[in-house]
């Protein structure tokens, strides 16, 4: 029982991480038809930003208490800035060439982690988390690491915020309409490009937050972290149906749980294998994803 509880909590934590990466990826693809290969790089940038701030380089930020919150906020801000920059400088000029947009993000996705490892080395750096978050708490006889709870809470907050934003605000309405039919929104005289930058900013912020909190989950940061998470995020996006936030949340939890349980009960690595095979199988059976949008 204790094992199952622990595995469930860890799986949920992992799922939360996937959701944070996949939500932005899903919105970007749904709205702009751009498969953002640089999304993993945004995650790495957020992780390094938080690590840099928490290591005492940013005045006021630190490894405990309010200082750590500030460090995470700093990492998220840096990631958001990078995402906006990416959209304005790389994606926007290629607006009429969708295939080149994907290629450009591939280039950025290769270059950004290389730049990170050029500056801070390619080895993993220990992530300085607050002592309060590195402990465990008992739940049904299992000792659950606190950081799993933090991840799940952050993912829930982002999920609720995104749903409120998409459902209740005018900008969210434009984004939703753009996902449904971009040409029609443009025809109605609304500048969708502003929504593009907005969606990139939101996606970048979520990914960077995932990076900053992923440092807690993994205990360290390394330049390739984002890229390895990106593949599972793709799995989540495709499974959840591209452009659907709720779909991404359901798929992220499913993928995280399957991965954890299969890795524990069969052999290490088989869980990862199961997830990618699951993706292939799902796409072949239901090419439109779980919630039925285009894939």
């Amino acid at each position: 029982m204790a094992t199952i509880v622990l595995l469930t909590c860890t799986g949920l934590g992992l799922g939360a991480l996937y959701f944070l990466v996949a939500s932005g990826l899903s919105l970007i693809f749904g709205l702009m038809d751009v498969l953002n290969f640089a999304h993993g790089a945004l995650l790495s940038i957020g992780a390094y930003g938080a690590w840099w701030a928490a290591s005492g380089n940013l005045p006021g930020a630190g490894r405990s208490g309010f200082g750590f919150v500030l460090a995470v906020a700093f990492g998220t801000a840096v990631g958001t800035l990078a995402a906006v920059l990416l959209e304005l400088a790389v994606i926007r000029p290629l607006y009429t060439r969708p295939r080149e947009q994907i290629l450009a993000t591939v280039g950025v996705g290769l270059a950004a982690p290389a730049l990170l490892s050029a500056i801070w080395g390619s080895d993993a750096r220990t992530f300085p988390g607050p002592a309060a978050l590195s402990g465990t708490f008992p739940l049904l006889g299992a000792a659950i690491p606190v950081n799993r709870l933090v991840l799940v809470a952050a993912a829930l907050v982002v999920l609720v915020a995104l749903r409120l934003f998409l459902g209740r605000t005018r900008h969210g309405l434009v984004v939703r309409a753009g996902v449904e039919d971009r040409a029609m929104v443009t025809a109605l005289g609304i500048d969708v490009r502003k929504a593009f930058t907005l969606v990139f900013a939101i996606g970048g912020a979520a990914a960077a937050l995932a990076g900053a909190l992923g440092g807690l989950y993994f205990g360290s940061v390394d330049p390739g972290q984002g890229t390895s998470l990106l593949i599972f995020a793709f799995v989540v996006v495709v499974m959840g149906g591209m452009g659907s936030i709720t779909g991404a949340a359901v798929a992220a939890v499913g993928v995280g749980l399957v991965q954890q349980f299969a890795n524990y009960y069969t052999a290490a690595g088989l869980g990862d294998l199961a997830v990618v095979v699951m993706l292939a199988a799902l796409l072949l059976i239901r090419p439109r994803g779980l919630t039925g949008r285009l894939a």
Partner: protein
Amino acid sequence: MSTTTPTAEPTRQEAPGRARPRSSPSWLRRAGRWWPGVLLLVLFVAPYSALQVPGVFDGPIGSPGTLQLLALCLVFGALATGYDLLVGRLGLLSFGHALYFAAGTYATNTITLEAGLPFVASALLGLLVGAVLAALLGSVSLRVTGIGFSMVTLAFAQAGSILVERDPGGITGGEEGRAAPAQQLPASLVGIQHTANLYWIALAYLVITLVAVHWAVRSPTGRVWEGIKENERRVEVLGLRPYGFKLLAFVLAGTLAALGGIVYLLLTGGATPQTTTSDFTLSLLVMVVLGGSGSRWGPLIGGVLYTWADHRLGDLAGSGSVAGLPAALRVPLSQPMFLLGAIFVVVVYVLPGGVVRLPGHLREARTSKRSPG
């Protein structure tokens, strides 16, 4: 090789009524038509050359180190050419091409090591494994289209990568990879003094790939591929099933990649898990786009340039001249991948169509500058 060359085309495209800037005598143009043959001959005799090319290569061209680099350039040039069959000729953005390359490498190496077969027999079996794998997974992946196809191929390749890292039964060597057994290979392919033989094998692989791709593209099947890339629905309306044609291209590209994997195994003396990763496929994509997707020589040029730059930039990063630079310059220069990624983004922007379109762009720029003034 075919009889028409791209060099003949620009003269045709020039604006009428304006004197050709370089009206070359007819014998020169006829000779120009044979440049692939001349280049092949030059590449063939390269191991006998003691020419020094300062800055481009470290040692003389005939030295083992330079030949090894040249052979790698040729292998990746050929690999990119095969990959472009999918990306450029059919518009199929496969993200799993590394799998078939790695299948050739790992299957051949493992069969040699575990079954103790002679190398040629295991190489043939390895090629067969690559072809069968491409046929199997291709027939499944091609059931979805667009981004779905990219994702399914990515998933299969990732599964392969995880399997290799997992090292089932100790047959793949996990993260370390596995060295090829020197005593089971033909003696003429082992050792630094025989690098020229490996170079010739790489050259032969390049020629096979170029001939196969050019022949396939010019065949009636190649016409259908062109049609599929332009408008798949229309091909269907004409009464042809695109699925079979796409599968044929997928298997051909996969088999060529597996062959490349076998050559790579000989060249580097082992199988490494880096060749199974999605980054490997992405670097192939970079090569294709860098050189010029869908063109005859573009992927080859891109593959050669990328491989050469990757190695030379790596050498440059390790050299003392970089260590003395200020941090703002030293840091980006120490990572070849950063420079390559940045160059790639720039090429995507300013040079749509890749390096092969550069002469055309330059000519256009010159004409447009001249005509108004």
